[in-house]
């Protein structure tokens, strides 16, 4: 009996730990930015994604099936944008992230173009969160996509956009 109750306690503690770890990157590392005046904040809740999925999107006739397919698996979107101090913010951001929790997918650094970093949090083959950090001359963008993210599908999206443009 005692062993059983002890195991239950252990499991409970683990559960408590894991729910805490499930917070998205912006909540975890950039909490203080959210209430910062310099930032524009956008948040789309899991509930909203459910609604969008149910309505099967009639607002936008151009939107391709590929797009719907990606949106369907999203569970949350958080965007932070700042117009000032972009380079400083970018440097701060890429140092803040705990690289044991988030895996660096790609870094792009180029003199003429924006600096970018893509980070993912995955569990096996499934990417649970994708974080994009962009630091250009006058823009700092943080985007966190939460859900079941298929990188291949996302990458293919731009093809369908180019067809439209």
């Amino acid at each position: 009996m005692r062993i059983v109750s002890f195991l239950m306690l252990l499991g409970f503690l683990c559960l408590a730990g894991s729910t805490q770890a499930q917070a998205d990157a912006i909540s975890t590392y950039f909490g203080q930015y959210v209430d910062d005046e310099r930032f524009t904040v956008v948040y789309i809740s899991p509930k909203m994604f459910q609604m969008i999925d149910k309505l099967s999107i009639d607002f936008d006739e151009e939107s391709s099936e590929a797009m719907k397919d990606v949106v369907k698996d999203l569970r949350g979107l958080r965007i932070l944008v700042a117009d000032e101090g972009a380079q400083g913010l970018y440097q701060e951001a890429i140092q803040k992230i705990n690289t044991t929790e988030y895996e660096l997918l790609m870094t792009v650094r180029n003199k003429s173009e924006d600096d970018m970093q893509f980070l993912i949090k995955d569990e096996g083959d499934i990417v649970n969160e994708l974080l994009m950090i962009i630091g250009s001359e006058d823009n700092f963008v943080l985007m966190s996509f939460v859900g079941n993210i298929d990188l291949e599908k996302v990458a293919k999206l731009s093809e369908s956009f180019e067809e439209q443009d």
């Binding site: 005692r2 002890f6 503690l13 959210v34 936008d60 705990n98 970018m116 962009i134 996302v154």
Partner: protein, 165 residues
Amino acid sequence: MNTIAIKQLVDKYFEGETSLVEEQQLRAYFKEGAVAEELQEYQPLFQYFATAKREELPSDFDERIVIELQRPAKRRFMRRMVQMSSVAASVMLMVAAYFWYPTTELPSTVSNQINWEQYEITDEEEAYKETKAALKLLSRNLNRGAKKAAKSMDKITKKKRRIEN
């Protein structure tokens, strides 16, 4: 009784097929002491049965059994104490670890209180458009990064080939 008959009886005894009378005969034979050499190995066994039958409970049996019963109770208490304290110790360890470990993740507990709702987009169409724009940016940048990586890989392999040739 001759040795051969006894031997047969012994064999029968070990097969469990002797009658009570026959067993009595066996015991009597081994008790007498004039045991044939080949049967001497069985002597202690049958003698033991004979003496064990005569054994009686000592007069202080009741007292002794009460004492014996009391002793394990004490021991059981001690064992329980040891178990309890080891469980308590491991729980303490876990609690300690829980408070010790996440010094770097401490912001997450604070940031869990971020009120995302005030930034939430509550209009489906707008939410969808925002998502689409975000995905567009993400997809483009992912491809740009990948293309750049592919290009530089190309350059590297070309250079390598030149060196090799």
